[in-house]
């Protein structure tokens, strides 16, 4: 099957019902996208499909063939992704860091659609991503910081 991931075309051999998460991680060795729950409950596996934030643990590869997939390894190519990755470092957002790839992917989709999000926008976009270390206040601050950078002065 042909998949388009981070602008590259890749061929994978896996059963049609295999979730994209496991194709990325096990077949392609792209381990930046994380497993957390397998039921779209925690957001650790968030990637973009045609620009939308989706949970790759419940998305079969047959459903994404021919669509544009972006992962944490590629999101830095976009202005939002790059600004978020920089804000994440500047504010020392991560603790253990495991959920942060998914957090950044959700945040990048938010900023692409809503360049200047309110707190309510952030809650709505980010509450599907669990962080057990409790970095939520810094995630919120980093999203706002990245949004400010994306706003022309």
């Amino acid at each position: 099957m042909e998949l388009s991931i981070n602008g590259r075309s890749v061929t994978v051999t896996a059963t049609d019902d295999t979730p994209l998460l496991w194709v990325l991680r096990d077949h392609l060795g792209m381990t930046g996208t994380k497993y957390g729950c397998g039921m779209a409950l925690c957001g650790a596996c968030t990637v973009h499909v045609d620009g939308q934030a989706v949970r790759s643990c419940v998305l079969t590869i047959s459903s994404v063939a021919g669509k544009k997939i972006t992962t944490i390894e590629g999101v830095g190519e976009s202005a939002q992704g790059k600004a978020l990755q920089e804000a994440w470092q500047a504010l020392n957002v991560p603790q253990c860091g495991y959920c942060q790839a998914g957090q950044i992917m959700s945040a990048a989709a938010l900023l692409a659609a809503t360049p200047a999000p309110t707190d309510a926008d952030i809650d709505a976009a980010m509450s599907g991503n669990i962080c057990r270390c409790g970095t939520y206040p810094r995630i919120r601050a980093a999203v706002k910081q990245a949004a400010r950078q994306g706003t022309p002065a």
Partner: protein
């Protein structure tokens, strides 16, 4: 009257393994009574000295300098979000006068002989290693200075290391660390007592508040490597169906359907542990496949009949009633002072309350996972382990290999919180690799595996009774704590909390109460009990801090004033005088309980949170304070409960005193995280059991705090601390215990409703 303190350990002293594990917790064998004659070698060892393999400070083990001057610092403790992979290098780099921008970090493999103790738990890493790492850096600086002096033919006293180079001021000559590295590395490491440490005023990196995490870029770009991430061509992927009940076994299983799943390579039974659970893998059936998805599908297709064993009866509602019965009857006395019975009889007002805290699960975002392979009889393991040495020992033992034949690479941990101190998952990976001829095998625990087979936080009933005298002062205090003990994973059928559990806010109550008795009735464990961040401090602090608020209300007094009076005058308390023979493994002389510092964090947080400010209807402030892991914490939570009973926690203030701080940003982040995790366990966290089985499968049933319900405004107030003669306190854990009682006390202020059972869930609404 003397307290009757029974030894908490099994009578059989030959259980060296059990004792070794206990020592690895810092739970020094206790110890209520000191033997009359102490031999020198029996003298108690404290701090890092008391840990297996103690500490090391050899710069040749921890520091490498490349020709281009890049300084690589090995970190031997595990990174699980507390920031140790940035903090430890800060200490070493500062003392060696390295330029922080040219410092890299590298993770040490499991090798305590070389690096000293590696157990990353007990909020100990920085506190135990700040001094050895300072000496390590200072010794490296000395060697670089010696190398420069020798190459110039001048006295070493004439040269000085300054920001990544050694300078000879008189001649103006300079040599960079890179140019000096090879020569310095050939020198003898200077004797420890000759090494000159910086004065704290000379620190350039320690204490700096703007240090970026060394792993920040890798984390933000998806390159960071966790235990679930190692990837090899041809690697096999395993998931395991484990006994749903502690001590259960596989009766028989049918793998015919599982083997038909495309990608499934092998199905095999996992051996059952022979005795105590320890950190052994659980009995079960493993499915090995060409990817994780196929392994998961294969597991779903297994048909297994389990023999549940004796714990198949475990039901958390029935068990709660058992704990309540135990708490309503006298139990083993673990501390006594004055005459409680006499004083309670004379009290003008009596208050009683009973609190319940359920099991909770760690639910690290990275579930347990590990990779192993065996090449030429040598086993390599990649694991997100808090206990590298124990992991190596356990893998060697289970595989029948020598310790030297096992290498454990410690990856980043996607959350630890105590779960990953138990390396059962790494042993599983190694066993399966061995069965598959040494091929690399990754074991992944699914989320339901994690929530079904955790080493759960204990469940407890805490019953308190107190009497107030005519002046409104607490004259009598009785606390009965009933909870299954962590010792139950090491020894058959222990019934009482261990010294290290009793010393977590139960016996070491730093209050000025003349008549007090603390009891610990029996409880039996029916599931694996393990350390959860802050451990027994969580139930003890919840009960005590809730109860103090209830007493203040009964006395008609302001909670803050009442609490300060209960603590009494600023003074030093010898922990042994409170029958705390553990004291977090630290010397009672070096680490007395300082009630002045406890008072100070309470006063600080109340000032910063504007305690006493007017609150709108349905809103309230709640206070709690707790001393644990040698640090002092006070919390004020602000809550609102609307007319539908919906609880919000808009703001939490925390005041914290852990003594001097290496990396203040990571201290703050640990406290921010502790508030969120505290909110989560207070409002939502609960694992229940029926027929011996954990009833929560995933995050829809084991709910945790998310962005929309986390406090938006968390204000951390670090008490000024520049005196480096004050020994360091812990940071990772002590923020948790006061959060839940502060929230519940705030709900009382807002609604008049007392919450005595966690989680709060809909109780704020009074239903």
């Amino acid at each position: 009257m003397n307290a009757r303190i029974e030894p908490q350990l099994p009578a059989d002293p030959s259980r060296r393994e059990f004792l070794a594990h206990l020592r690895s917790l810092g739970a020094l064998v206790l110890v209520a009574t000191v033997p009359a004659v102490l031999k020198a070698e029996d003298a108690p060892k404290y701090g890092a000295d008391g840990m297996p393999h103690g500490w090391r400070d050899d710069p040749l083990a921890f520091i490498a300098i490349a020709d281009d001057g890049t300084v690589t610092i090995l970190v031997h403790r595990s990174e699980m979000g507390q920031g140790v992979r940035t903090g430890m290098p800060m200490i070493v780099a500062d003392e060696m006068e390295a330029d922080w921008g040219r410092v890299r970090v590298q993770q040490a493999p499991a090798d305590e002989e070389k690096y000293g103790n590696q157990d990353t738990d007990g909020s100990r890493s920085t506190r135990h290693f700040v001094d050895p790492m300072r000496r390590c850096g200072a010794a490296a600086r000395t060697m670089l200075e010696q190398a420069a002096a020798a190459s110039w033919g001048v006295a070493v006293g004439e040269v000085k290391a300054v920001n990544h180079e050694v300078v000879h001021e008189r001649s103006g000559r300079k040599l960079g660390f890179g140019a000096l590295a090879r020569r310095a590395a050939k020198l003898r490491v200077p004797p420890r007592e000759s090494v000159r440490l910086k004065s704290p005023a000379q620190f350039r990196i320690i204490g700096r508040d703007n240090i970026r995490l060394l792993d920040g870029l890798d984390i933000a770009t998806g390159k960071a490597q966790y235990g679930i991430d190692p990837w090899f061509e041809g690697m096999l992927y395993a998931v395991i169906a484990r006994s749903p009940v502690l001590g259960g076994r596989v009766n028989h299983f049918d793998a015919a359907e599982a083997r038909k799943v495309p990608g499934v390579v092998e199905v095999m039974e996992m051996p059952a542990p022979v005795a105590a659970a320890q950190f052994h893998p659980l009995a079960g059936v493993a499915v090995i496949a060409s990817d994780t998805w196929a392994a998961m599908k294969g597991r779903n297709a297994l048909r297994i009949s389990w023999d549940d064993g004796e714990h198949g009866v475990y039901d958390s509602e029935t068990y709660r009633a058992e704990l309540e019965r135990a708490a309503r009857n006298p139990g083993q006395v673990v501390r006594e002072a004055g005459d409680f019975d006499g004083a309670i009889g004379k009290a003008v007002r009596k208050v009683e309350a009973e609190y319940y805290l359920p099991h909770i699960a760690h639910a690290t975002m990275e579930p347990p996972a590990a990779v192993a392979r065996i090449v030429d009889g040598r086993c390599e393991v990649w694991a997100p382990t808090q206990a590298p040495q124990v992991t190596r020992e356990d893998v060697a033992k289970h595989l029948g290999l020598k310790f030297e034949q096992v290498t454990v690479h410690v990856t980043l941990l996607g959350g630890g919180f105590g779960r990953k101190s138990k390396p059962d998952f790494a042993t599983e990976a190694a066993l399966l690799s061995q069965k598959m001829g040494g091929r690399p095998v990754k074991v992944t625990w699914t989320r339901d595996d994690d929530l079904h087979h955790d080493f759960f936080h204990t469940v407890s009933v805490e019953r308190l009774q107190a009497g107030l005298d005519a002046s409104g002062k607490v004259s009598a205090w009785l606390h009965r704590s009933v909870a299954p003990t962590i010792i139950s994973i090491f020894a058959p059928d222990p019934r009482h909390e261990a010294p290290f559990e009793l010393g977590m806010g139960l016996v070491n109550l730093p209050y000025d109460i003349p008549n007090l008795r603390i009891e610990n009735p029996e409880a039996i464990a029916h599931t694996r009990i393990g350390w959860f961040r802050s451990v027994s401090n969580v139930p003890h602090a919840f009960a005590v801090q809730s109860f103090v608020a209830e007493l203040a209300a009964a006395a008609g007094r302001d909670h803050r004033d009442f609490l300060l009076d209960l603590i009494g005058a600023p003074r030093m308390i010898d922990p042994t005088s409170q029958h705390d023979g553990w004291n977090h493994g630290e010397s009672p002389q070096r680490y007395p309980v300082n009630t002045g510092r406890l008072r100070n964090v309470i006063e600080t947080v109340c000032r910063e949170a504007e305690w006493g400010r007017g609150m709108p209807k349905g809103s309230g402030l709640g206070l709690a304070a707790h001393y644990s892991f040698l640090s002092y914490v006070a919390v004020v939570a602000e809550v609102s409960v609307n007319d539908k009973g919906y609880l919000q926690i808009p703001r939490v203030d925390v005041a914290f005193d852990c003594g001097p701080r290496v990396n203040p940003d990571r201290v703050r982040s640990q406290l921010e995280g502790a508030v969120v995790m505290g909110v989560s366990l207070a409002t939502l966290g609960e694992i229940t059991f029926k027929k011996g089985r954990s009833q929560q499968d995933n995050f829809h049933q084991y709910r945790v705090t998310r962005m929309d319900t986390a406090p938006r405004d968390i204000r951390v107030h670090l008490v000024p601390a520049t005196d480096w003669s004050v020994p360091l306190g812990g940071v990772g854990e002590p923020g948790i215990p006061p959060v839940a009682p502060a929230i519940c006390n705030a709900i009382f202020a807002a609604t008049g409703r007392r919450i005595r059972r966690l989680p709060i869930r809909e109780q704020a609404a009074g239903t």
